[in-house]
């Protein structure tokens, strides 16, 4: 199971991590549309980390149990999201896309988990499985 962690602290990093994510998706055997979904979801999370999370890291992992898939963990140590439910409904859409990014990433992937608390940062885990 290969795993790589990259920093996302600025805009250059967003692009790098996207590239990396796309390659990982290609290598894992995902089709063109899924590659696009995965890369876009990564972009959304990475951007949130840079813009709202004061920087963080993205870990991309190919997972193989009884099914094969890709797992991305995005961590930041920013201010955290106070009202997760509101954010996921896009309630923070006025704050430059935080909620849109999260709900977007959720819609594009098969699994989505988020933990966040005020002052402690945010961790988002997303997964997509090969069909």
């Amino acid at each position: 199971m290969s795993e790589d962690t990259l920093p996302v602290n600025n805009e250059y990093d967003i692009i790098s991590v996207r590239s990396f994510g796309r390659n990982a998706a290609v290598n894992a055997g995902f089709g063109i549309v899924d590659q696009c979904r995965i890369t876009t979801a990564i972009s959304e999370l990475a951007r949130n980390a840079v813009v709202h999370g004061r920087g963080g890291s993205v870990t991309i992992k190919i997972v193989q149990n009884d099914k094969k898939g890709i797992e991305i963990i995005c961590r930041d140590e920013g201010p955290g999201i106070v009202n997760l439910e509101l954010a996921l409904q896009g309630g923070y859409s006025t704050v430059g896309g935080l909620g849109i990014g999260l709900s977007g990433a959720k819609r594009l992937m098969d699994e989505f988990q988020i933990t966040s608390s005020a002052g402690k940062g945010t961790t988002v885990i997303i997964r997509k499985w090969l069909k």
Binding site: R37, T40, S43, E44, R47, G97, G104
Partner: protein, 126 residues
């Protein structure tokens, strides 16, 4: 990264060739709007054939460029969206602001703009 903005008759055409950083997109937007003003362009075509990903930020940017350009007198069409990107954008969510007229390719885009200018009706987002 220099992105060339071409002028064909009274249209401006810009091609998004590579992955653009957020600050580059912002800069490009300013440049486009300046050029529209300077050349009195009646139409703007944004060619995104080479874009393999459009996330919510890019979608918002394209939308805002289109809206502002139109205000400045240049009707805007985005052309060449990849099928995978189209599907992903739709799935990304309806809350993404996307008030942009789209066409399959450059040729169609130009025809669309000519038609719209001829009848002087607004390029309608249906």
């Amino acid at each position: 990264m220099e992105i060339p903005i071409l002028k064909i008759e009274d249209f401006l055409i810009v091609s998004f060739q590579t992955e653009l950083r957020d600050d580059e997109i912002v800069k490009l937007r300013e440049e486009l709007l300046d050029r529209i003003k300077a050349t009195n362009a009646r139409g703007l075509i944004i060619d995104i054939t080479a874009l393999k990903i459009i996330d919510s930020f890019m979608a918002r940017s394209l939308s805002s460029i289109a809206t502002t350009a139109t205000l400045l007198g240049a009707k805007t069409v985005v052309v060449g969206m990849q099928p995978a990107v189209a599907l992903t954008l739709v799935e990304l969510g309806l809350r993404i602001k996307w008030n942009v007229q789209t066409s399959l390719n450059l040729e169609r885009g130009i025809n669309l703009l000519r038609e719209a200018l001829k009848s002087e009706k607004d390029v309608v987002y249906e």
